[in-house]
């Protein structure tokens, strides 16, 4: 009951507000084109008829929520999952490169963080480059990665995954540097009094202390990976994936398709973040975390 009051009601109210606003803007944005059509057809619809028409155009400027919902439902549940019009199929294509890129990115981020924490030269030399790497727009880098890799014969999943890696290693590296440096002075002093070796201090103190930081940064990283995978599909002329759906929708002015692909992408992102969050909570519980 408490979650109902404290979470479901506020979230639902906002959602309702958004839907209402969305309808209002759908009418406002689609009205000029509809007036144009009616004038050419010499029709003078009533206000209700006019509103109905603005909300049911085949290629509206802003599709109404129910149009997106119907399109999303049809393309998710009414198509075979192997059809390339199925959102499930397209989401899976994007998800697979997201997960691969996320795995690479997390591993790379951890390796970089360990290097930075343990090697003073890396701390000074690597960090500025890592930060600089994230200031380069991914849209500029993505085509080059795809083209360069294609030139040496690597195509398909890997180039897309590498773009995800490029975006996702950063939060993990930064979070893990912080996490590996998070042990209190007293804990480090304690290990010193035991004459513990650097690797003992690392495995018995730094690594467990960094786990909460890892999961927090992985939540950011997994969402970034998905963005990377979608962006990676744009310049590749990919035939499948949420990015490909977005691009195709833009070519053919299928605005409803664009929006339902967008919804599919958001759902995948929310699920990914949720899964990482749950994994984090399970690990925390297994490590003796105090139940919240």
């Amino acid at each position: 009951m408490d979650t109902f009051r404290s979470k479901i009601i506020p979230v639902t109210s906002i959602l309702l507000g958004v839907v209402v606003l969305w309808y209002i803007f759908a009418v406002i944005l689609n009205a000029p084109f509809q007036r144009d059509l009616d004038r050419r057809a010499n029709e003078t619809p009533s206000v209700v008829e006019f509103l109905g028409k603005t909300l049911s155009q085949p290629k509206p400027t802003l599709p109404a929520p129910h149009q997106v919902a119907v399109n999303f439902f049809e393309n998710t549940f009414l198509r075979s999952v192997t059809s390339n019009r199925s959102l499930v199929y397209n989401a899976w294509v994007t998800l697979s490169s997201t997960l691969l890129g996320f795995a690479f990115g997390t591993a790379l981020g951890i390796v970089i963080a360990v290097g930075i924490v343990h090697v003073a030269t890396l701390d000074r030399s690597l960090m500025p480059w890592i930060i600089a790497s994230q200031t380069i727009p991914i849209l500029a880098v993505a085509p080059m990665i795809i083209v360069v890799l294609a030139a040496i014969g690597i195509t398909g999943l890997i180039p897309k995954a590498l773009i995800s890696t490029y975006l996702s290693f950063f939060p993990v590296a930064v979070g893990m540097v912080k996490g590996l440096r998070s042990p209190e002075i007293t804990h480090l002093d304690l290990m010193h009094t035991y004459n513990a070796s650097a690797s003992q201090t690392f495995w018995k103190l730094r690594v467990p202390a960094s786990v909460p930081f890892l999961f927090t940064s992985m939540k950011v990283a997994v969402a970034a990976s998905l963005v990377g995978a979608i962006v990676g599909e744009l310049p590749t002329g990919a035939v499948a994936g949420i990015g490909a759906k977005l691009l195709a929708g833009a070519y053919y002015s299928q605005t409803i398709d664009i929006w339902s692909a967008l919804v599919a992408g958001s759902i995948v992102a929310a699920l990914l973040v949720m899964v990482v969050g749950i994994a984090g909570r399970l690990v925390d519980r297994a490590m003796g975390g105090r139940p919240a």
């Binding site: 209190e184 007293t186 804990h187 002093d189 304690l190 290990m191 010193h192 009094t193 035991y194 004459n195 513990a196 003992q200 018995k204 103190l205 467990p208 202390a209 786990v211 490590m287 003796g288 975390g289 105090r290």
Partner: protein, 263 residues
């Protein structure tokens, strides 16, 4: 103090100067001290008098900048490498992701004892601090006093003869503190360890110690060393005896003398 037993800690003309942004700070100056085996020595003084710094020098957590110090006849660094002491910090400093039992096992894992030997030592030290039955609990499930007892168990686990304690009961309420003081004395009596104990409580220092080292700040130095005339076995109510009060008065005088020096 028995003259024939070799000194566990021996310092002469010991000094330590920290370089800070505001210039050098003399944390310790000209400390001469010898601690024999089986002694219970308290260091008492106002904050900034260097009592914790002295303990940290013994533990090789700080390096002296002048003078000489030996622990078990070695340099503090060699003594630390040989795991000559157990150290109890002001905070319990238990690892929150380990159960009490695994926390006590931490030093044993580091020195590489077998599982069987670890289990045996854990059982023994947990009994010593009266924490049997709490092995599988996580630190947050225990009270502050119990957490500190667990950290004492951890310091005792590898059976060093020297126990260094830095205001271990400072954060606890008086009732718990009395209780732990009693248990600590009992433990000292049974194990015959040498204990160096930092405190800022006069009754605690007098109740526990065979010797009380009174220190004073700016520069951190030893102003008085008081031999306790109390018997080795001390019930809590010994604190109302004239003998106890006389020693406490002398400690208080020593502290006051140190203070007036600066003011």
């Amino acid at each position: 103090m028995t003259e024939q037993s070799p000194a566990v800690v021996s310092a002469s003309k010991l000094g330590l100067t920290f370089q800070t942004n505001d210039g050098p700070v003399q944390a310790l100056s000209n400390v001469d001290l010898t601690i024999g085996k089986g002694e219970f020595v308290s260091f008492i003084g106002p904050s900034g008098c260097g009592k914790t710094t002295l303990l940290r020098v013994i533990a090789d957590l700080e390096k002296a900048t002048s003078g000489a110090i030996s622990v078990n006849g070695m340099t503090p660094e060699q003594a630390r490498e040989k795991r000559a002491y157990g150290y109890v910090f002001q905070a319990a400093a238990l690892f929150p992701w380990r159960t009490i039992e695994r926390n006590v096992a931490l030093p044993l894992e580091i020195i590489g004892l077998s599982q069987a030997e670890q289990a045996e030592r854990i059982k023994r030290t947990m009994e010593l601090v009266n924490l049997s039955g709490f092995e599988k609990k996580y630190p947050w499930q225990l009270s502050g006093g119990m957490q500190q007892r667990a950290s004492i168990a951890r310091a005792l686990a590898f059976d060093a003869d020297l126990l260094l304690m830095d205001e271990p009961f400072g954060a606890l309420d008086e009732i718990v503190r009395d209780h732990l003081n009693e248990q600590l004395l009992d433990l000292w009596d049974r194990t015959n360890k040498t204990i160096c104990f930092v405190t800022h409580s006069i009754p605690e220092a007098v109740y526990l110690s065979t010797r009380i080292v009174v220190m004073s700040p700016r520069p951190g130095r030893v102003t008085d060393i008081i031999e306790s005339t109390l018997p080795r076995r001390r019930p809590l109510d010994i604190r109302e005896t004239p003998e106890f009060l006389a020693i406490a008065a002398r400690v208080r005088d020593g502290l006051r003398a140190g203070h007036s020096y600066d003011d």
